[in-house]
C-alpha cells in the first residue's frame, strides 16, 4: 500500500523550474530517502506534498488525499520538520510541547502521555524548564522531531534533519527515524549526506528538479556502477587524479578528502598497473590502493558526471 503517490509534479517560479515533472511512490511504513545537491528541488517538493505550496501542475496523493483538492485534509495526516529549526527558541522545552499539542488539539490525558514520550526520545526528562534556544543542536533536532509527530501522524516529512549536527548525534537521530518506521510511520527524509541514504529502504536522487535515479541502495549501485572501484591514498591527491584521468584503464576518478575513488574498466588486469602508471608520470607517493564496494556517493557522482557529459 502506498502512503504517497506523486504524479508528474511540477513547480515553476517564474521561468525557473524548481521541480520538473517528477513521479514516485512511497510505501506505508518505509523510510524513503530524497537525495540531491543544494538547490535540487527537495524542499520545494516537500512543501508541495505538505500542502503549503500549490503545484504548477501534476498532483500527489498523500495519506489518501489529493494535495491539489484536499490540502487541508492532507495536513491532518502529516507531520513536518522543516529545514529551518521550527520550534520557538524563546519558549522552554515544555512550553513548546504544550503549544504544539494545543495547536493539534490533543486532549489533556493524551498530552501527558505524548509529552512524556517526546521528552524521553529527546533525552530531556527533568529538563522541561530549559529554554529551547539553549539546547545543543542534536537535542534540538530530536525535540523538533518529537513535536512534529506529537499528534501521531501516519506520514512524516523530514527536511535535512541532520544538517549541521555532529556525526554521533546524526547516528542517534537515524535510530529515531528507524524507530518511527518500525511503528508503522512513513518517513520521507531529505539529506545530502549520502552515507545516510544507506539507512533508507528506497531512494530517489534528484538533480535540477528531475529524478536521475531511483531504487534501493543495492539496486542503485548495481544498476549504475558496473566497474570495479578502488580507493587510493596519496600525499598529493589532486595531482595524482589529474594523471589518472589520462590512464586508459580508468573511467572516472573523484576525490574524497585525501582519498581518490577510481572506477576502472576491463583494461586493468591487476592492481599493480595503477601504481606503475602513477610512478611513470609523477613523483608522488601512493600509500595504499584497496578495492572497495561502491558507495551511494560514487553512484551519485557517476550519475552527475554522466549527466554533464550528455549536456556537453
Amino acid at each position: 500500500m502506498n502512503s504517497i503517490e506523486v504524479n508528474n509534479l511540477t513547480k515553476t517560479f517564474g521561468k525557473f523550474t524548481a521541480v520538473d515533472n517528477i513521479s514516485f511512490n512511497v510505501k506505508k511504513g518505509e523510510i524513503f530517502g530524497f537525495l540531491g545537491a543544494n538547490g535540487a528541488g527537495k524542499t520545494t517538493t516537500i512543501r508541495m506534498l505538505c500542502g503549503i505550496l500549490t503545484p504548477t501542475s501534476g498532483d500527489a496523493m498523500v495519506g489518501g488525499y489529493s494535495i491539489m483538492k484536499e490540502s487541508s485534509k492532507v495536513k491532518t495526516r502529516i507531520g513536518y520538520m522543516s529545514q529551518r529549526f521550527s520550534l520557538y527558541n524563546d519558549l522552554t522545552v515544555e512550553e513548546n510541547i504544550n503549544f504544539f499539542s494545543g495547536v493539534y488539539n490533543l486532549p489533556e490525558d493524551k498530552l501527558k502521555e505524548r509529552k512524556k514520550w517526546v521528552l524521553s526520545i529527546a533525552n530531556l526528562e527533568g529538563k522541561e524548564k530549559l529554554l529551547t534556544g539553549s539546547l545543543p543542536g542534536g537535542i534540538k533536532q530530536r525535540l523538533a522531531l518529537g513535536t512534529a509527530v506529537i499528534h501521531q501522524p501516519e506520514i512524516v516529512f523530514l527536511d535535512e534533519p541532520t544538517s549541521g549536527v555532529d556525526p554521533i548525534s546524526r547516528r542517534n537521530f537515524w535510530e529515531l527515524i528507524n524507530y518511527l518506521s518500525n511503528e508503522g510511520v512513513t518517513v520521507l527524509v531529505t539529506t545530502h549526506y549520502l552515507e545516510e541514504a544507506e539507512f533508507c529502504n528506497n531512494i530517489i536522487m534528484i538533480d535540477q528538479g528531475k529524478i536521475i535515479a531511483e531504487g534501493n541502495s543495492k539496486e542503485l549501485k548495481s544498476a549504475h556502477i558496473k566497474n570495479k572501484m578502488y580507493k587510493l591514498e596519496s600525499n598529493n591527491p589532486v595531482e595524482v587524479m589529474e594523471q589518472l584521468k589520462k590512464a586508459d584503464f580508468v573511467d572516472e576518478v573523484s576525490i574524497f578528502g585525501n582519498n581518490l575513488h577510481l572506477s576502472v574498466n576491463e583494461k586493468l588486469k591487476e592492481k599493480n598497473q595503477i601504481t606503475s602508471f602513477i610512478n611513470q608520470q609523477v613523483d608522488y607517493k601512493v600509500n595504499s590502493i584497496d578495492e572497495i564496494t561502491p558507495t551511494l556517493e560514487d553512484v551519485f557522482i557517476h550519475l552527475l558526471e554522466k549527466g554533464k557529459k550528455k549536456v556537453v
Partner: protein, 377 residues
C-alpha cells in the same frame, strides 16, 4: 477550535514576557508620549507667578488685582514697593510677570479718562512669554468690560461691545489643551502599540521559519490571527484605560459619554490598527523592516494628520484629503464626541463607517498580497 486559539494566546504571552524589545515598545511608547504630552501641557500655562507693584492702592486697583488672583492662570506671589524690586523679581525668576499699576489709576478711570497698566514679562522663554502676554490681554479686556458696563450703567446706558478680543492658539483652540489632547493621545498610543506589536509578532514567525510549521498544522488563518492579536488588543485596552485614569487624576478629564460605547468603538479602532499591522507584516520580510515601517506608518500620520495637534479644518484641501489615510483621525473624532461632548452614536456613526471601510481595505490588501507571496515563496 477554541482550544487552538487559546494555545496561541498562551504562547504569545509567554514569548512576550521574554521579549525585551516588544515590552519596551509597549511600555516605552506610552510613557514617552505621556512625557511629550506633559511638556505640551506646559504650554497651557497655569499659575503664572505674578508680582504686583500697586502704586495706586485704591479700591479699583484692588479690584483689578483680585480679578487676576481669582483666575486659575495667575498666582500672585507678592507685592513690590519700588521699581528696584521689579528687576530683582524678574532677574531672579521669582516672578514671570510684574504688573505695575500707576498712581493715578483709579483717579483717571473715575474721571472717565484713559489709563494704562504696565506688564513686565520675562521673555527668555519666548513661547511662554507670549502666552503670558495673551492671558494678560484677556484679563485686562475682561476688566475693561466690567468697568465699562459699570460706568455705562451709572449713566443709564446698556452695554455695547463693538469689538471683542479673542485669542486663538493654533494648538489649543479653547485654552483647554489637556482636555483636548487626551483623545488624541489615546488614539496615538493605541495605534502605535497595536500596529508595531502585531506586525512584529507575525513577521518574527515568518523570519524564524516557525510560520511554516504553523501552516502545516490544521490551524485556520482566523484562529491564528485572533490568537496572536488578542494579547496585544488586551494590552492596548489597558493602556487606554491607564491614560484615561491619568487624564482624570492629573487633569480632571472625565468621560462624559457611555463607557460601553467607548469600549465598542475602541475595539473597532484596534481592529483597524491590527489589520494595518498584519498588512505590514505581509509586505515586510524581516523584523527590522517591519519595525521601521510600522513605526513610520502608525506614528507620523496619527501625529500630524489625525487632527491630534493640528486642526484638520485649517489644512489645504489636498492635505485634508490625505488625512483620511489614518484611522486615528476617525477615532479621535469619536473619542472627542464620547469623552468631551458626551454624545451618543448618532453623532458619529459616519466615523465608525469610515473605520469599517479602512478595515475592509486592509484585510483585502493583506490577503491578496499574502496569497500572491505564498505562491512565489
Amino acid at each position: 477550535m477554541f482550544k487552538r486559539t487559546i494555545a496561541i494566546v498562551k504562547k504569545e504571552v509567554r514569548q512576550l514576557r521574554r521579549d525585551v524589545r516588544l515590552l519596551a515598545v509597549i511600555f516605552f511608547f506610552p510613557v514617552m508620549l505621556l512625557i511629550m504630552f506633559g511638556y505640551a501641557v506646559n504650554f497651557d500655562v497655569k499659575n503664572i507667578k505674578v508680582a504686583i507693584y500697586d502704586q495706586d492702592k485704591s479700591e479699583l486697583s484692588r479690584d483689578f488685582i483680585n480679578s487676576l488672583n481669582s483666575s486659575e492662570y495667575f498666582n500672585i506671589i507678592g507685592f513690590i514697593n519700588n521699581y528696584g524690586d521689579v528687576n530683582k523679581y524678574l532677574d531672579q525668576k521669582v516672578a514671570l510677570c510684574v504688573v505695575v499699576i500707576p498712581q493715578d489709576f483709579s483717579k483717571k478711570i473715575n474721571s472717565n479718562q484713559e489709563t494704562s497698566i504696565q506688564y513686565l514679562i520675562d521673555g527668555v522663554d519666548a513661547n511662554t512669554g507670549s502666552i503670558v502676554q495673551n492671558y494678560m490681554f484677556a484679563a485686562t479686556g475682561q476688566f475693561n468690560q466690567k468697568v465699562n458696563s459699570k460706568i455705562l450703567a451709572k449713566n443709564g446706558l446698556k452695554e455695547f461691545t463693538p469689538l471683542s478680543i479673542e485669542t486663538q492658539f493654533w494648538f489649543n483652540p479653547d485654552l483647554k489643551t489637556t482636555r483636548f489632547l487626551i483623545p488624541g493621545l489615546i488614539a496615538m498610543i493605541l495605534i502605535i502599540t497595536a500596529v508595531i506589536t502585531v506586525a512584529l509578532s507575525f513577521v518574527r514567525e515568518k523570519e524564524k521559519g516557525t510560520m511554516e510549521q504553523l501552516n502545516v498544522s490544521s490551524l485556520k488563518t482566523i484562529e491564528l490571527i485572533i490568537g496572536k492579536t488578542f494579547p496585544f488588543v488586551v494590552i492596548a485596552l489597558m493602556n487606554a484605560g491607564l491614560i484615561l485614569l491619568a487624564g482624570y487624576i492629573f487633569f480632571g478629564v472625565v468621560v462624559k459619554g457611555s463607557y460601553l460605547l467607548l469600549l465598542f468603538t475602541t475595539l473597532i479602532f484596534l481592529t483597524a490598527s491590527t489589520s494595518l499591522g498584519i498588512f505590514i507584516s505581509v509586505v515586510s520580510d524581516s523584523q527590522q523592516v517591519a519595525f521601521t515601517a510600522a513605526t513610520f506608518v502608525s506614528l507620523l500620520p496619527s501625529l500630524i494628520l489625525s487632527g491630534f495637534v493640528f486642526p484638520i479644518d485649517s489644512m489645504p484641501w489636498i492635505i485634508q484629503l490625505i488625512t483620511n489615510i489614518t484611522p486615528a483621525k476617525f477615532f479621535i473624532n469619536i473619542l472627542r464626541a464620547i469623552i468631551l461632548r458626551g454624545v451618543g452614536i448618532s453623532a458619529f456613526w459616519d466615523q465608525i463607517i469610515y473605520l469599517l471601510i479602512f478595515i475592509a481595505i486592509f484585510v483585502v490588501l493583506a490577503s491578496v498580497i499574502g496569497k500572491r507571496k505564498a505562491e512565489s515563496v
